[in-house]
Symmetry: C2
Subunit: 434 residues, 2 copies
């Protein structure tokens, strides 16, 4: 008999079906016993009045079982139907006591994050914890399919590099045969080179690495970067406007394709009408005026400032997103183009969402001589960047791009307290396993 998925039970009322999955829970209600079965599609319920006949008291939770029975309507069941049990067969049984009960709600489980991460694969059996990565997969899918429709080519660029994109700080060293190499901090150089290679528009979904010493709720050392880079732009606004359209499609897709996951996680989707823009200089003025911050030495935004500016965007623009633009030149990498009318400030921007930076981008320098000059101005040696610089000798169009942190975006959409909850197997200052 073909397998039926838990989710599809309502389509088989009156039929005999076969289910495969894990025993989520077994409970007794008066004379009736319920077996809750969990598979990749969700949880469904089988019932019987003869628990002894099926030896239900000897079946351990999280056993993998095959259930056969007839589907009958049952208005009180969550799906409007349930399986009248005819047989249950244990295919694989656990060989050790479970670390915790995955069938309880996350709130009732009340586990420390380390406990969840130490038992990551098992913890994912909890429907709420597992739902996070179904949402993340939809974010990634939307990113890819939206950009393909916009004429972007998906690329995969090396993560083993000879020099850092920002000049050698915060890199993880690798022994690459006889040579010293590093893990890439971003695909920045490569995506720019590929614009110059003639692809014009490229995107990449890939891990990047930052050997930063942080141990905060917003940092991990290996994260999934959603990058795009586009040539022949008129200004950085071409980059941000594309992101706005992408985010609108994302909200629509999450609503349509992840409704169950969002409900389970009590997550609320943002409404996006038009994302406001705020010049960095004006952002400081808002922080000073409305939030009493001393901004005299502020050249970048700290986490508190990000939260305050999102609060401001909510109040004044009724928006959960805000683009902060024109970051000061001293805080942005050497490849960032500056505003010729106001050269203290760059065409670099961040996108803040519910109090957290989720995107960094800019228009880049495309002129070879200017780029070399700026590398020098940063105290770096253009020779170390020869592999990157070469293509600029042969004409690269005006271009810009951005990078979205997939885990942070997932975290903010789902209201998760810690970015690690949005990473399947997070790597941080102290965590190398599982």
């Amino acid at each position: 008999m073909e397998r039926t998925l838990a989710r599809d039970l309502p389509q088989h009322i009156g039929e005999r079906v076969r289910l495969l999955g894990w025993v989520h829970h077994i409970r007794q209600l008066g004379k009736i016993s319920f077996v809750l079965l969990r598979d990749r599609s969700g949880v469904t319920q089988a019932v019987t009045g003869e628990p002894e006949r099926f030896g239900l008291d000897r079946i351990e939770r999280e056993s993998i079982v095959e259930l056969v029975g007839r589907v009958k309507p049952e208005p009180q069941a969550r799906q409007g139907c349930e399986l009248e049990l005819e047989s249950i067969r244990v295919l694989v049984a656990p060989v050790a006591p479970l670390p915790f009960e995955v069938s309880r709600s996350k709130k009732k489980l009340n586990l420390k994050l380390d406990m969840i991460l130490d038992h990551r694969a098992f913890a994912l059996r909890n429907p709420e914890i597992g739902a996070v990565f179904r949402v993340q997969a939809e974010i990634v899918r939307t990113f890819q399919e939206f950009l393909r429709r916009e004429g972007f080519l998906e690329v995969h660029t090396s993560k083993i590099i000879a020099a850092g994109t920002e000049g050698g700080t915060a890199l993880f060293p690798i022994q690459y045969f006889e040579q010293k190499a590093y893990l890439a901090q971003s695909p920045q150089f490569y995506k720019q080179m590929l614009v110059g290679a003639g692809y014009e528009r490229v995107f990449e979904v890939g891990f990047v690495y930052r050997a930063e010493d942080h141990a905060t709720s917003r940092h991990i050392n290996e994260y999934l970067s959603l990058d795009y880079e586009m040539g022949f732009i008129d200004s950085f606004l071409d980059v941000t406007r594309l992101e706005e359209r992408l985010l609108k499609e994302l909200v629509k897709n999450l609503g349509e394709n992840c409704a169950e996951e969002l409900k389970l996680l009590e997550a609320r989707l943002p409404e996006i009408s038009s994302i406001p823009y705020l010049h960095f200089r004006d952002a400081l003025e808002v922080l000073r005026r409305d939030y009493n911050r001393d901004v005299s030495k502020m050249h970048d935004l700290d986490p508190e400032a990000e939260r305050q500016l999102c609060d401001y965007a909510q109040k004044v623009h009724n928006s959960e997103f805000i683009f902060i633009t024109h970051y000061p030149r001293r805080t942005r990498p050497f490849y960032t183009l500056w505003d010729p009318d106001d050269p203290e400030y760059t065409f670099g921007f961040d996108l803040l969402f519910r109090g957290l930076e989720v995107t960094t981008g800019s228009q880049r320098i495309h002129d070879y001589n200017l780029l070399v000059e700026n590398i020098r101005r940063f105290g770096l040696n253009p020779e170390s960047f020869e592999f990157y610089l070469e293509i600029f000798k042969y004409a690269v169009p005006p271009h810009g791009g951005l990078a979205i942190g997939a885990e942070r975006l997932t975290q903010q959409f789902l209201g998760l307290a810690n970015v690690r909850e949005a990473s399947l197997f997070p790597r941080d200052r102290f965590r190398l396993t599982p």
Copy 2:
């Protein structure tokens, strides 16, 4: 005026349009001058009888230009139309002599591979060289979209690991803060764990790393692995049959969406009716009988054997693909399940395509005790694999999966001599840049 792409010129006959791109070539034919313009969509042609008026002799190849003019039908032009030049404006000009002429055919260019790879971004401007990665993107897209439709979840698993999947050989060491870590050889452990986590069916597109000393035309040290893993299988045939369907869809999609690239590269798509299967033992017999090979000490297939078995598949089954199944136990990793009726042989298989292994897969051991026992039998310590083993204590269904090397598959579809040609920025024994 909006930008028109080179490819779309025929849709604008009679209209005035604006094009942006690189000067691919400028040539004089009697009194007429032609400017070939290349953008991300292809190459198109502008004509004028007044080259002096536009200063065409002062415009360097590979300059980025804006062309404006009216589109007129021209039966002799490749697109059936061309642009009557009204203005040309140089936006960005090269500042150094070009390393080679990208407008010539690859054959005429006759460049050494190292020359191409040393100037990788520039070389991609050559339409043939650049086409390779449009085909590869279509391979990746098909892989993702096909598997999503089959109920697989896209996952992204850490590439920084504490132990190797095959027991610690051929790993690149990383200094991870105070700890020693390694680059992942494959997402093998993680994808199995995620089957056991309850996702049942997962896929991943990501780089993996092999610190192997090879310097051959078929090896690179960082390659893009297209992985899937599926639970609740009846046998490894569920895994191979899914791959057969995937490959059929791939051939169809490449034919529909990459026709120009395939033509440019003179690539021929394979026809897949039904991929033949050959037991390893029988494969040896074929090699002995038909190819005069001494197979007495053959426990794995060498490159020559792979070519010979593909030759056999072509002759006997009229197939360019062949599954070699039941590889001997001693050549497969510890997680590979063996045939209980013939325990010298495993349920592990390879897929050969035009003489090259492009896929490795198997049914895996899902029983915790058996897995621990087999780790010991391989002389390894189960304790080092605790992070992987844990989920097997809590019931993992019968499962299997495979990994496809994206570069090798691209190479074979396109008939490229070296796998490096199918890697944007290849990493090999001696190459760390660009």
